[in-house]
Symmetry: C2
Subunit: 191 residues, 2 copies
DNA sequence: CCAATTCTGGAACGAATAGTCAATAACGGA
DNA sequence: TCCGTTATTGACTATTCGTTCCAGAATTGG
């Protein structure tokens, strides 16, 4: 039987959220261990003991961030009875949060598909989100709000690419009106 | 009068292209001075003598990359008599080169709008390209290929955001068919 | 030829990096 | 209460970072 020992004094998810904040702003290479321990408010050894090394911490941060973001997208998608309204709500949320950098976009920019263990984190989230969006596109087609000839999967990929595009535009300093315009144009392609 | 001294043994633009290759793949923080001198094939002191420090080298690399990319976009835009064909050609070129990371997208992801001297590099290129695209959109509207109600400037921003989206999708591992689909959907929004 | 100037390559610098060690503290089970 | 185990803490290590110094080589004007 396993003996119980001293429990950790910090909440792993809360400190992970702090790490997410650092990685969002500075990326993996730009984030130092010192910045991380400062932001997370724990000792160095606690960090390495709880999360492994910097790369594993980064993977954990990306995974947690992606799960939360994925859930938020899906919640927005289902926030309205009419599918097209849900899709619009998803894009609206992206516009409203586009002042903060996206860790998903950042990690793809920084590492592409080169790191297999990072791709393992992205892939399932991408599939889940694409599936959820494609489903809602199908709904919108049945409700007469989206062109029936379109392939829902292709439209889903298009919307995900536009989410990335909106976030990059926001990161580059685009104002709210411009981002609203981007979302409107993306929706236009579905008609 | 100024005395002539020993001339440089390397071509500044050629070595800058090598540096661009390193920065595209690894970003600013992920590129070490060692990687840069190895790829550029020059000595350390030559690098610092010719380009200043690492940050100035990065700015020079982004500037040169952006100028080349901007020119290539505009050339594609004008490669066909019909404006909409030129716009499609521009997106096709983006799709065809989407296997290589984009230094413009990478630098925005890494630094956002925080570094003013980097924004100074991006801004004029962005204006130039947006203007060129908007002009071509106006042509397409007059030729009956784009909806007359659309604001050419807004459409230009949309296309630029989609170029970024296509490149991120490519960096994330999307295959050619998926990227073609993204370009087709983007064009769809102009009708 | 000389003098002036700049380039080149390598060694060297201090600072910062990711990661570890050893000592101490806190807990659950016996 | 004492033990086994784990968390915490802060000093520590070894490496790598960006950058600079130095000595020699190359080039042109005088």
């Amino acid at each position: 039987m396993r003996l119980m020992a001293r429990p950790r004094e910090f909440d792993a998810d809360a400190t992970l959220d702090s790490a997410i904040g650092v990685f969002r702003e500075h990326g993996f290479e730009g984030a130092s261990a010192q910045m991380l321990v400062d932001a997370m408010g724990i000792g160095r050894q606690s960090l390495y003991g709880a999360f492994g090394d910097k790369w594993q911490l980064y993977r954990s941060a990306v995974r947690r961030y992606a799960m939360g973001e994925c859930a938020a997208h899906i919640e927005a998608l289902r926030s309205a009875p009419r599918a097209m309204d849900g899709i619009a709500a998803m894009l609206r949320r992206v516009v409203e949060t586009a002042d903060q950098p996206c860790l998903g976009v950042g990690s793809i920019c920084e590492f592409g598909a080169a790191r297999p263990d990072l791709a393992e984190v992205h892939a399932p989230m991408g599939r889940t989100l694409r599936g959820a969006i494609a489903n809602r596109i199908g709904d919108a087609q049945r409700e007469g709000d989206a062109a029936p000839a379109l392939d829902p999967e292709a439209v889903a990929e298009f919307l995900m690419a536009n989410i990335a595009g909106i976030r990059i535009a926001g990161r580059g300093g685009a104002d709210r009106a411009a981002l609203d315009g981007l979302a409107a144009m993306a929706l236009r392609a579905l008609r």
